[in-house]
């Protein structure tokens, strides 16, 4: 955008918000130039930080009137570039919309503004012995608005579901200024379940302005097991064995040898350093009897599957210590490598062993090391590709390797993203997961909500042109869609 319309926009914005809530100077804009995917950066047109709904509505009305694109930002912890700004778009940061609006203990629900952090929700109701279940590892920082936009997951999804399974109602502001309510506090609504469509829409359909989530009773009994394995494939098989036996752990996480080393050096969690892989298996429930029974069964299965050692956390402090290694794994890897690139593919659990082997092979081929720390119970892989951005070409190599990993995930019957979203990062990979008709449908759906393509344009859904150029159009049953059409 050239300077004249930009000036007009900023002038108009300065009449809506206080001067400290409008950032226009280069040094003010720099902190906003990327989200958690730091490899992708661009300086925004300007940043505005509304303090209430009225201001937000006025800002959106202005953007619609001036046809200025909008990028919504929560806490900017996203890992797929979803909140990465664009030089032609206004970045609207929602961190100041952070009030708890209503706690309803009878209904076990809470209503909050979008900028409230994930952890703050559980903290607000901890005195009632309630909590909000989805717990992304970024929970101290990420916002509920961002969680809704990404359909965020976490360590406890395997038992308690993703964001979509825990959100009751969402208010969303559309680009033409309509404030829509999706869902309700009832267990269903009349008509189509549009709430589930809005969750995970990555800021492309509207701006989430209010969220009501359901709360759960804190399980009084929790136990944590750590099992060590001398082969990662064997650990993968143990995951399947536990689930087949009818046990649903509250969390079932895996770390490979490299992650164990890094985590041990960083947090001294007490992991067996020599292990090829460890599984952390958390069991919870209402009564000591039921949890004890699950623990006995799980230990037996883990041993039968070939665990070389099974440790049970002896106290809450010990449990927290064992979890600290897992939770600090990303920063721990950050200490052993100048840069790392987090991948997020999902696969059917039974293919864990095979796909981990394929990743190992790619690691050799590309000459880049990989550390695996992930939600094994959900089949949600997080290979961290280690690279050095200061070495010319390494970032590109890491990205290429990432794309190859995602292809293996799709081939195994999985998905290119389990919880981090597509954003800008996985646009190419989307071309492998969906065919032309499916992608066109997504574009048409966006038009229903945002006909002028002003909200987070260019993200989440690739253009058909891009996919055709990439030559990676989804091959359905060995046939290209519309073979009669020329490929460009």
């Amino acid at each position: 955008m050239n300077s004249e319309p930009r000036t007009a926009l900023c002038n108009a914005l300065s009449k809506i918000v206080a001067s400290e809530s409008l950032l226009t100077e280069p040094e003010e804009l720099t902190p906003y130039e990327c989200d958690g995917l730091t490899a992708l950066r661009e300086v925004p047109l300007a940043v505005v930080l509304p303090e209430n709904l009225d201001q937000l509505r006025a800002i959106v009305a202005l953007c619609n009137q001036m046809q200025v694109a909008v990028v919504t930002r929560g806490a900017g912890t996203g890992l797929s570039g979803g909140a990465r700004p664009s030089k032609d778009a206004l970045l609207i940061g929602l961190a100041k919309l952070n009030r708890i609006l209503k706690i309803n203990s009878d209904r076990k629900s809470i209503t909050v503004e979008p900028g409230v952090t994930n952890l703050a929700i559980s903290q607000a109701v901890s005195h009632l012995n309630l909590y909000y279940a989805p717990d992304p590892s970024s929970q101290i920082a990420c916002t509920i608005g961002g969680n809704v936009a990404e359909n965020a997951g976490g360590v406890h999804c395997i038992k308690y579901g993703l964001t979509v399974n825990n959100v009751l109602q969402v208010r969303m502001l559309t680009i033409d200024g309509e404030l829509l309510t999706f869902g309700s506090e009832s267990l269903d609504t009349t008509g189509y379940d549009l709430l589930s469509l809005v969750v995970g829409s990555e800021g492309l359909l509207g701006i989430v302005t209010e969220v009501t989530v359901r709360l759960l009773d804190r399980p009084p009994e929790v136990r944590l097991l750590l099992a060590a394995f001398d082969q990662i494939e064997v650990a993968g098989d143990a995951v399947g064995a536990i689930l087949t036996a009818g046990i649903t752990p509250a969390g079932l996480e895996m770390m490979d040898h490299r992650s164990i080393q890094a985590a041990e050096d960083f947090t001294h969690a007490g992991y067996p350093r020599e292990a090829a892989a460890i599984l952390l298996c958390e069991l919870d429930g209402r009564s000591p009897e039921s949890v004890a029974e699950q623990a006995i069964k799980s230990i037996e299965i883990l041993k039968q599957c070939g665990a070389t050692q099974v440790i049970e956390a002896k106290s809450e402090a010990h449990r927290n210590q064992l979890w600290a290694g897992r939770k600090g794994a990303f920063p721990a890897i950050g200490r052993i490598s100048p840069d790392y690139y987090v991948m997020d593919g999902t696969i059917p659990r039974r293919h864990l062993g095979t796909v981990l082997q394929q990743i190992d092979q790619l690691s050799n081929e590309f000459g880049l090391e990989v550390a695996n720390v992930f939600h094994a119970g959900d089949g949600n892989l997080h290979p961290l590709i280690l690279y050095d951005a200061n070495q010319p070409g390494e970032l590109q190599k890491a990205e290429q390797m990432g794309t190859e990993i995602l292809k293996h995930c799709i081939e195994a019957g999985g998905s290119i993203t389990g919880e981090h979203g597509v954003g800008l990062e996985k646009l190419d990979a989307m071309c492998s997961q969906f065919n032309e008709s499916e992608l066109s449908l997504f574009h048409q759906l966006k038009q229903v909500f945002d006909p002028h393509n002003l909200l987070n344009p260019g993200k989440a859904i690739p253009t058909l042109h891009r996919c055709a150029e990439l030559g990676a159009m989804h091959v359905h049953h060995g046939q290209l869609p519309h073979p009669e059409l020329e490929r460009f």
Binding site: S184, G246, S287, S290, G414, Q433
Partner: protein
């Protein structure tokens, strides 16, 4: 067990060319539910068969014409079940019909609904294209989740061809509890029980009694015993009447479902009080299910009264059975949502041939 996809697609394309609407039917076991009046039908019952099921994945992929009976039996062999307990209206009830109507059993508040268990669909749209939306893994956030609204769309967003659904381990054991109670006191009692952190999978009031169902391991059920007794509930686990009650409630075979008065399904937020002069009014027969969040009212009360009260309480009311002339079956939508519905429908079914006329849709759309 047969793949009818090509045949179904051809039937649809022919209907599309003629502009003649189709009524989609599976096992035709729920004809009392809202449907379109088209004479031509698209029959899914032959399009059946389980395509992929590995118990360790806790996911099953199958064709939509598979009967619930076959599906349940198959899962049982591996000690698993569907989390949402769809009612089975006859041996012919299909999984496609269960997903399209999104009806769930008594455990809904604690076990989740159809939308929560659905992972992906293969769908035949109104213009004959076949799309794969969602997938068959438990976590997948690529693309818009257009598959989830298929649960409860009554086929109006596309013909469901294949479904991937989450499964859960079978309940180890269940215990049943009850006490006699007036309807006026029932909701408060349910609320009290609900705050006791019990392994609830059912809590209903019907015919002057409160019924509670727990599902857990033997050890955990034993551990609940004392608490249940202190809540003045008596153990009915070995009572056949109680078993019958739960089976009838689950499959909507309770005598209330057979009355000829209009039957309303009212969905309300948990812990909502009784509506004014409705559930307990004279001549009305009521069941409170889902701990009070789903209420069945067989009543001649005025539709406007029911709907306005349900709406003020944060819920909605559907005319479930025994329709009334001039009364919409589904609770009307607000104008902006109605608009989105229409546009969404046009995306999935541009010539309006799949079960047209539901959700306040005008039967004959303007050419514009």
């Amino acid at each position: 067990m047969a793949d009818q996809q090509v045949h179904l697609q051809k039937q649809l394309l022919d209907a599309c060319a003629e502009g003649s609407p189709l009524r989609i039917i599976g096992g035709n076991s729920r004809p009392f539910l809202p449907t379109c009046s088209a004479l031509a039908t698209l029959k899914l019952d032959q399009h059946s068969g389980i395509l992929e099921y590995q118990p360790e994945e806790r996911v099953i992929t199958l064709r939509s014409g598979t009967t619930l009976q076959e599906l349940n039996q198959h899962l049982q062999q591996h000690r698993q079940q569907l989390p949402f307990e769809p009612p089975q209206f006859s041996p012919h009830s299909t999984i496609g019909g269960a997903i399209a109507t999104a009806l769930t059993g008594p455990g809904r508040p604690w076990r989740g609904g159809v939308r929560d268990a659905l992972l992906g669909v293969k769908v035949l749209t109104g213009n004959g294209s076949i799309l794969q939306l969602g997938g068959s893994v438990v976590k997948n956030v690529a693309g818009y989740d257009l598959f989830r609204p298929m649960a409860g769309a009554y086929g109006s967003l596309g013909v469901l061809l294949e479904l991937s659904i989450k499964t859960v381990p079978m309940d180890e054991l269940q215990s049943y509890w009850s006490t006699t109670l007036e309807i006026e006191e029932s909701l408060q009692r349910m609320q009290q029980i609900n705050l006791n952190n019990l392994p609830l999978t059912g809590m209903s009031w019907a015919d002057g009694a409160l019924h509670v169902r727990l599902s857990a391991s033997r050890e955990e059920l034993m551990a609940c015993h004392q608490k249940m007794e202190s809540l003045n509930l008596s153990d009915q686990t070995s009572s056949s009447t109680e078993h019958t009650f739960w089976a009838q409630l689950h499959h909507q075979q309770h005598p209330l479902f057979k009355r000829t008065d209009p039957l309303w399904r009212v969905s309300l937020p948990p812990a909502s009080p009784l509506l004014d002069d409705l559930e307990h009014s004279k001549g009305t027969a009521t069941i409170l299910d889902w701990g009070g969040a789903q209420r069945w009212l067989s009543t001649t009360a005025r539709a406007e009264q029911l709907r306005s009260q349900a709406e003020s309480a944060g819920g909605h009311a559907m005319l479930y059975r025994n329709p009334l002339a001039g009364v919409e079956r589904f609770h009307p939508l607000s104008t902006p949502l109605q608009l989105i519905h229409q546009q969404l429908r046009r995306l999935m079914d541009p010539c309006s041939i799949l079960n047209p006329g539901l959700f306040s849709e005008p039967l004959y759309q303007d050419e514009a």
